[in-house]
Amino acid sequence: MKFKSNAFLIALSAVILGLIAGGVLMMAIGSNPFEGFFYLFRGGLMNMERIGNTIATAITLMLVGLSVAFAFKTGLFNIGAAGQMLIGGLCATLVAHYVFLPRPLYLIVIIAAAFLGGALWGVIPGLLKAKFNVHEVVATIMMNWIAYWSIYYFVPAYLKGPSLETESKSIAIEQTLRSPWLTKLFDGGYMNLGIFVAIAAVLVVKFVLDKTTLGFELKAVGSNRFCAEYAGIRVNRNVIISMMIAGGLAGLAGMTYYTGYSRNIQIGVLPSMGFDGIAVALLGASNPIGVFFSGLFFGMLQSGKGFMNAMTEVPPEIADTIIATIIYFTATSVLFSKFWDKVGRRRKEREQSRTGTAGEVKEAKHE
């Protein structure tokens, strides 16, 4: 994806158009869109607890967004974050149930387990892509369903809860990522230590991509495979590493979701955040900092939708519709880049006609 104009303007246009589409849909069912949006944003931000929940949702979205963005940089489309989340989350849940260690050491173990679980699920499509040229989109989708069914049978067999057949037994609160001081600061709610994992991941990914040889090679493979190969970069190795790290990041997302936000794993569900993360990455233009802010934005939409549904007639799926519309408009960003280029050119022309001669204006038009 090459943007001639500013990535921020494109993202902003996509968001505004997505919100307008959401407003039109609210109007279509006879609701007042301003009221709907008011409650949607209020539901995400009205007090410390809700802000905590927004951030807790955003943590997972950011990590999935980073995963997708990381793969994008190497020219790969990781649509398998949902499955990687499940496996990473399962590994974290197993650690939470069976490993008892002093807190700092425990956190390191659980993070490592989740990362490795996700990385395992990511590296398989990476290997298939590198060795056999199997398209990573199909491979990761197949891995999603393999993870889905594995969890479906593994959880009731080995982690069965006391009452419900459809979820694993709850993790003891001390073994989750929740932390007393964070819980106190945000008046209860789902806020957890995952926020530090997410921030660290953003910084590390940014550092790796911008400042290391590995990052340079990954990006080189992403922008032109053949050129990278000609320059002596081992393309296949980079494809495998990229998918492995992307999987690991999604595994961390699974940890923050299943052992932080929630305290058990539900079976029979592919976590929808694995797909929302694609939107996060696209809106953030695959830039770690961009992913951080777009994760916060989508986190707000997702955590406010329940409140909106309670206060108005608008179904909660409006948030997902807005997110999907934003992806569509990001995919068709050519429209906006053309639009903003035109705006920019016109402004330039106007300035030139004010200061310069008519001849220069003509030249500007010819560009």
């Binding site: 997902d320 992806i327 995919a331």
Partner: protein
């Protein structure tokens, strides 16, 4: 060398035909064991939506547009037909069913225009556009279901009744296997399959469409409008995926519940597995349909109960991965698929 030749043979048209034939003969033999006789109607019921949807994918990919949105397009058809049948079944009775299928086809075709516009006119990344279609469909259909029908689930009263085909069902063996207790939608789907094969491989229109997926500039220089051909391809993929979704509703589901559970993605896998050819697609989807059925019934059949059910459930996906590995060296994908023109 002989290994390569064997591989080439088994992936050629005659090879696939032979494999299908062997499979059918085996089935006919096994038919004496009542197991297959019991499984086959379900296997066919699961195969048909996959077959129709994968055929839709064939039109789109052959014209040069990757369509990862088949899952969402199926869902749109599923929803539109559920809503139509729900609203008309009281007055039109059985006639509501074909009307519902038609609504699914139209809705799928219309929705696919979003993908066509993005990937043909705007030269967007087709994989991302397809993903957007999937997410949009799953959010929008449930949103509309909640507001129009009052709940995320839309249940219908009617369904297609299984019927014996007169005369043909009296043939011993084959007749009892294929012509008893069949849905009429199955025959519609098979007719669509035959017509698609004819259109794509026996007419000059089909040749042009396929050429758009191989070398669009050559087709353009011959005076054919590539954009129009690709719009047709994507539109057909939407229509057929919509039909596939509707068939799920009127045969084995009976209710719109907001998801087609990955069948659209499985259709894409079947398209690749079937090497972008009608006969290959028929074989691949039938394989998936049978695998799904066996997974579903494995619990109630004592002979299969000893094997952990998870193995049956992941079987189709693992085999797809293995098949993709096996076909990777000589992929028959249209050369220009996914590339904007």
């Amino acid at each position: 060398m002989s290994d390569l030749r064997a591989k080439r043979f088994f992936t050629s048209r005659w090879g696939i035909l032979l494999l299908v034939a062997i499979g059918l003969i085996l089935l006919a033999i096994l038919a004496s064991i009542s197991l297959v006789g019991r499984i086959l109607p379900y296997a066919i019921a699961y195969t048909i939506p996959l077959l129709v949807t994968a055929l839709g994918g064939l039109y789109s990919e052959r014209s040069g547009v990757t369509n990862l949105g088949l899952e969402g397009l199926m869902l749109v058809g599923y929803f539109a037909s559920a809503l139509t049948i729900r609203m008309t079944e009281q007055t039109l009775l059985e006639n509501a069913l074909p009307l519902g299928l038609l609504a699914g086809v139209v809705a799928g075709a219309l929705f696919s225009m979003l993908h066509a516009f993005a990937s043909i006119n705007l030269k967007a990344d087709q994989v991302i556009s397809g993903t957007a279609i999937n997410m949009l469909a799953s959010a929008l259909t449930v949103y509309l279901a909640r507001t129009i029908a009052g709940s995320g689930n839309v249940r219908i009263m009617l369904g297609i009744v299984r019927k014996n085909i007169p005369v043909l069902s009296d043939i011993p063996g084959i007749g009892t296997l294929f012509f008893t207790q069949s849905y009429w939608s199955t025959w519609v789907a098979l007719a669509v399959w035959g017509a698609s094969w004819f259109l794509l491989y026996k007419t000059s229109f089909g040749l042009r469409l396929r050429a758009c997926g191989e070398h669009p500039s050559a087709v353009a220089s011959a005076g054919v409008n590539v954009y129009r051909m690709r719009y047709f391809g994507v539109g057909m993929s939407g229509a057929l995926a919509g039909l596939g979704g509707s068939i799920i509703l009127v045969t084995y589901s009976g209710e719109f519940n907001g998801t087609v559970a990955g069948l659209g993605f499985l259709s894409i896998a079947a398209l690749i597995f079937g090497q972008w050819k009608p006969l290959g697609i028929l074989g691949a989807t039938f394989f998936f349909g049978t695998a799904t059925t066996i997974a579903n019934v494995s619990q109630v059949i004592p002979q299969l109960g000893v094997i952990p059910p998870v193995l049956f459930k992941v079987f189709p996906y693992v085999v797809t991965l293995l098949a993709l590995v096996a076909f990777s060296k000589r992929s028959a994908a249209p050369k220009a698929v996914g590339e904007p023109f």
